[in-house]
């Protein structure tokens, strides 16, 4: 093989295809992945709102009242609506991925993926229901 004199001079001249900035729009699965990554901004934003709410609570009833008023503005409500959609998307895709990270064995058999994802979803629904109950009755 190495007797071919033509080969050596061209050997380093490999072609390297550049990766375009918008590589992720070409395929739906990649777009879906970038969308999931983007949801983290909204998750972080929501956490920030909570921290600010705690801060307002610490500053006294008047400050907390002003904060609650701010939360009721149309802008705040629409932002919360958008965040809810993204956080839901984040949670659902996350729970669907849980079986990828978790390999449980019971009685020598692997627990099926659907069961692992299902338990996550059940825990989510249970906690949401408990929270709703505390909020509505409390």
């Amino acid at each position: 093989m190495s007797a071919n004199p033509q080969h050596t001079p061209y050997h380093p001249r490999w072609y390297r295809a550049p990766m375009p900035i918008f590589w992720w729009v070409r395929r739906w699965i990649h777009a879906r992945f970038i969308l999931r990554e983007l949801t983290s901004i909204f998750v972080a934003g929501y956490a920030l709102v909570y921290l600010l709410q705690l801060r307002a609570l610490g500053m006294g009833p008047e400050a907390y009242g002003r904060f609650l008023e701010l939360l009721q503005s149309p802008l705040s409500i629409s932002l919360h609506g958008i965040s809810l959609v993204f956080v839901m998307y984040h949670s659902i895709t996350w729970f669907n991925l849980a079986p990828r990270a978790l390999s449980l064995r019971l009685g020598g058999r692997r627990v099926p993926d659907k069961v692992i994802a299902g338990l996550n979803f059940a825990a989510w629904a249970g906690m949401s229901a408990a929270l709703l109950w505390v909020t509505l009755t409390g």
């Binding site: 490999w14 295809a17 395929r27 699965i29 990828r100 020598g108």
Partner: protein
């Protein structure tokens, strides 16, 4: 003679009378600096795979086309290419499923192209070697003590990851590897797990030095596409996520019980 009769057998499968256009990626470093696409009109035979169509081009239309293949039965892992943008084994991708065409055939993405459909895989081979994909023992037991025994349950722990044929489809499908060429990558991590999870192996610590790093498992952002394209259902994405979980547990264990670290 043997090759001729083999090619003869393939073209004897019933032709449907149809033809399909293959748009094949051509890169001839002595002729061009940028790749071009060359169209070939290929007859459609029932049960032909894309590799058969490429072989038809090579045998009858254009002998200068370069590509890798060997076994034609999904075992050797040589014939991986991008078919209509998807990383596929061309020996397992039926032409009929892609009609009416055209069918675009390109070399695997994320690798340098040597020529036409042939990619350079030294990077992968070096990374594979770096995780020591073999059974490591602290101390080999003498031959007369017999073999290392393993139960079927212990085999089941890693068997899935041992199915990897190094076809590199997962690397072509991984945008992280495309963006960060230093990333160890799906197949190598899955193969490292194959040995880490083997009850006979004691080399997990040595492999950790390579894998529990940013360029090892932590660069993975779980796109999950590696597992989608894997022709052997190895599920490298799962291997990496499980590695992350066990590595995190180990980190906490060392933090809370520093005296127990091995």
């Amino acid at each position: 003679m043997a090759v001729e009769s083999l090619a003869g057998n393939v073209s004897e499968t019933p032709a449907t009378g149809q033809t399909v256009t293959l748009e094949v990626f051509r890169y001839r470093p002595e002729e061009e600096t940028e790749p071009v696409y060359q169209a070939y009109e290929v007859p459609v035979h029932k049960d032909w795979v894309v590799l058969d169509a490429l072989n038809h081009i090579k045998d009858h239309l254009d002998g200068t086309l370069s590509y890798r293949w060997s076994c034609r039965m999904g075992v050797c892992g040589s014939c991986g290419m991008m078919v209509n943008g998807d990383a596929r084994l061309t020996c397992a991708t039926f032409v009929e499923s892609l009609l009416p065409g055209p069918i675009r055939v390109e070399p695997l993405e994320n690798f340098p192209v040597v020529r036409d459909l042939v990619i350079e895989m030294t990077d992968f081979m070096e990374k594979l070697e770096s995780v020591k994909p073999w059974i490591i023992r602290d101390e080999e037991k003498p031959l007369e003590d017999g073999e290392y025994l393993q139960t079927p349950a212990q085999l089941a722990d890693f068997e899935q990851f041992s199915m990897c044929i190094n076809c590199l489809l997962c690397y072509a499908a991984c945008p992280v590897y495309g963006l960060e060429p230093g990333f160890t990558g799906p197949a190598v991590i899955a193969l490292a797990q194959r040995y880490n999870l083997d009850s006979r192996d004691q080399g997990a610590g040595e492999r950790n030095a390579v894998l529990d790093t940013d360029e090892g498992i932590w660069q993975c952002t779980l796109v999950g596409e590696c597992s989608e394209v894997c022709p052997k259902d190895v599920d490298p994405a799962a291997a990496i996520q499980r590695y992350k979980v066990s590595s995190t547990l180990q980190w906490y264990r060392n933090l809370l019980m520093p005296w127990s670290s091995k």
